[in-house]
């Protein structure tokens, strides 16, 4: 049998890395994205300009960062619908501390600590106490938003000191070209895309989401993995919230309303199954970009808002349906 063993080993082809990164589902999405880009380029002369494209990338990056976090959590078989409220909420410690201390760094740290704490609470209730995560985070979505309103008396808190650094993190551009949020999003995406595909950490999330009991039997600490995913999801939503807050120059009590729907839509559009265990961050990124370019492009075509909504809905159904069709055929 030794020969046949060697023979088998030799026959194992090297793993096609690119192919693995852009697995089947991503190709469909990529095609949809390219089709949209082509269509809008033809439809509007101002669409395919550096200015516009970098603009859209900057806009998309807020959702992208949160979507990476949520994508990992959904892959791990859980969900967090409180991220919209959290995006609004992190701005409070950020701006309040910044106003009090004059330090952006302290503001950011407290915002991130706040996000971590929320993630830890969601994670504890869901992963350790075992309450369904949709319920937990639906609860925290209401509680956090209500908390913001109560704390602020339903008023925005301005950035009193008008710190230049605070303005720059969300509005500035590297070399006057690439918005800083886009850089953050790219970094987050690259690191965690790698983590999901090539690190135990990521595979653990897939395993836990694929079948939690099987993962437990394989010696994984399922609760801990899920807990970490919750914390990361909140943390990334926190980062999104910080950047958004900079774009808004203040802590706006209504910011992030409905953000969770947007991000969930992008994640699902990106091919991540709500049942867990299936999907990739590459798909998630494409989902975010499709929605962002759609919103931008339809605006460029000067389409009325109501048509934009109808078309966005149709495209979501079309893209997800197409993917479903592919899955059934393949």
């Amino acid at each position: 049998m030794p020969q046949s063993l060697e023979a088998r080993v030799d026959r194992v082809a090297p793993i096609p890395r690119l192919a693995a990164m852009f697995r089947r589902n991503e190709t469909v999405l990529l095609l949809v994205l390219v089709a949209l880009l082509v269509f809008f380029t033809i439809g509007s002369p101002t669409f395919m300009t550096t200015r516009n494209i970098t603009n859209v990338l900057g806009q998309a990056s807020i959702a992208m960062i949160a979507a990476v976090g949520l994508g990992m959590l959904v892959i791990a078989g859980e969900i967090d619908v409180s991220i919209g409220s959290l995006v609004g909420a992190v701005a409070l410690p950020l701006v309040v501390i910044m106003n009090a201390t004059g330090s952006l760094e302290l503001g950011i740290i407290s915002a991130l600590v706040f996000a971590l704490a929320i993630g830890a609470v969601n994670g504890y209730l869901s992963a350790y106490l075992g309450i369904n995560s949709l319920i937990v985070t639906l609860g925290s979505m209401f509680v956090i938003r209500g908390g913001i309103y109560i704390y602020t008396g339903q008023k925005a808190i301005p950035d009193d000191l008008a710190l230049e650094s605070f303005y720059q993190i969300g509005n500035g551009r590297l070399l006057g070209m690439i918005p800083y949020p886009a850089l953050v999003a790219l970094a987050v995406f690259a690191v965690f895309s790698y983590m999901m595909g090539h690190r135990r950490f990521g595979r653990q999330l897939y395993a836990v989401g694929g079948d939690a009991e099987v993962a437990r039997l394989a010696g994984y600490n399922v609760r801990q993995s899920k807990f970490i995913a919750f914390v990361l999801c909140s943390l990334f939503a926190g980062v999104s919230g910080i950047l958004l807050s900079s774009r808004l120059g203040s802590a706006v009590h209504v910011s992030g309303l409905g953000f969770e729907f947007q991000v969930v839509a992008a994640v699902v559009l990106g091919g991540v199954s709500l049942a867990g265990g299936i999907g990739s961050l590459g798909g998630v990124a494409l989902g975010v970009l499709i929605l962002a370019f759609l919103s931008n492009g339809l605006g460029m075509l000067n389409l009325a808002t109501e048509w934009q909504q109808v078309i966005t809905g149709l495209i979501i159904i079309g893209a997800v349906g197409l993917d479903e069709l592919r899955r059934r055929r393949g």
């Binding site: 808004l248 120059g249 919103s295 605006g299 808002t305």
Partner: protein, 320 residues
């Protein structure tokens, strides 16, 4: 024309599907068409982030002037700065923003105040001088808070012991307003004035009243905005709906375009261009300012233009 016309004006609205903004947009469209200016609208749909994105899109698309109704006045401060850096003139609608050049807006407090005075008069004449107010409010926005405050202050000038019996958050939506009002009405039997910060709110309050099976004999309903057809319908059919604090959205839109043209020509403009409002009192009072045909209302420009706006608001968000 002494002025150069901008080629294109972009308007980012707060909530395009709300009747108020529908009519603001209509005013803008009409005025832009008169002046031969290309005009585009994007809707923030109550989402601050989307508002910033839409304004960015306009800027990269190269509009000559930007008009923005802030979803939240703090949230567009960086946007104002970036428009300045890009050299794109910007007109704010509705709410003042730090760093802005000019704003076209009604005076919310004053609007409420004058309606309050009228309501006081009405209460004195028809309600035996009692004024127990249910405010179907919206604490979310400073503008709507100012209206409620103005209303109570105006009311108190006529009836000093007027009280706000219940201060509600009706979300500015008719269904929510209706729901919270039914609870409040069940609790307070002595309410006799319903004030709504917009027509949806007053409608919600009134409908809650009707649903509770109460007679409208000793009730006064005061609406604000004159946003769509709702208030006309109510004034026509509901005996208690006697006062509307009309804010003429068409006029606001009209004025905003004019302001945009001025900014484009680098003319001097005041920081607050006030658009007029007026309480309308009594059943047919709306006919003074509006025509209704085929379910479409048309503003009577002459009547509205004859209104003289205040130079300065009595109170603004800064006073809150």
């Amino acid at each position: 024309w002494a002025q150069n016309m901008p080629k294109k004006i972009g308007y980012v609205t707060n909530y395009a599907t709300h009747e108020w903004y529908q009519n603001v947009i209509k005013g803008m469209q009409d005025r832009a068409a008169q002046l031969g200016i290309e005009f585009e609208v994007r809707d923030a749909n109550l989402d601050v982030a989307k508002e910033v994105a839409a304004a960015e899109d306009f800027m990269s698309q190269g509009v000559d002037v930007l008009i923005v109704t802030p979803v939240n006045e703090e949230g567009v401060v960086p946007l104002v700065r970036r428009a300045k850096e890009d050299g794109i003139p910007m007109v704010l609608e509705g709410n003042p923003v730090k760093g802005m050049t000019t704003m076209v807006a009604i005076c919310d407090y004053d609007t409420g105040y004058h309606a309050g005075v009228a309501a006081g008069q009405y209460a004195k004449d028809h309600l035996g001088g009692a004024a127990k107010v249910m405010n179907v409010g919206l604490p979310l926005l400073s503008a709507t808070v100012l209206r409620s405050n103005g209303f109570m202050d105006g009311l108190k000038t006529i009836i000093p012991d007027a009280t706000m019996v219940h201060d509600l958050d009706g979300g500015g939506n008719p269904d929510r307003a209706l729901e919270v009002s039914s609870a409040a009405l069940a609790q307070n039997a002595d309410i006799n004035i319903i004030y709504g910060i917009n027509d949806s709110s007053s409608q919600g309050g009134l409908q809650a009243w009707k649903a509770a099976g109460k007679s409208q004999d000793n009730l006064l309903v005061v609406g604000t905005g004159g946003e769509g057809l709702g208030f006309i319908n109510m004034m026509d059919n509901e005996p208690s709906y006697q006062i509307e604090a009309a804010m003429f959205p068409e006029k606001v839109g009209f004025t905003a375009i004019d302001a945009a043209v001025k900014l484009f020509n680098k003319e001097e403009v005041p920081p607050h261009i006030v658009s007029p409002t007026s309480p309308m009192v009594g059943k047919d009072s709306w006919k003074q300012f509006y025509d209704l045909a085929d379910n479409k209302r048309t503003i009577k420009w002459d009547a509205v233009n004859a209104l003289v706006p205040a130079d300065k608001c009595m109170k603004t968000a800064a006073d809150l």
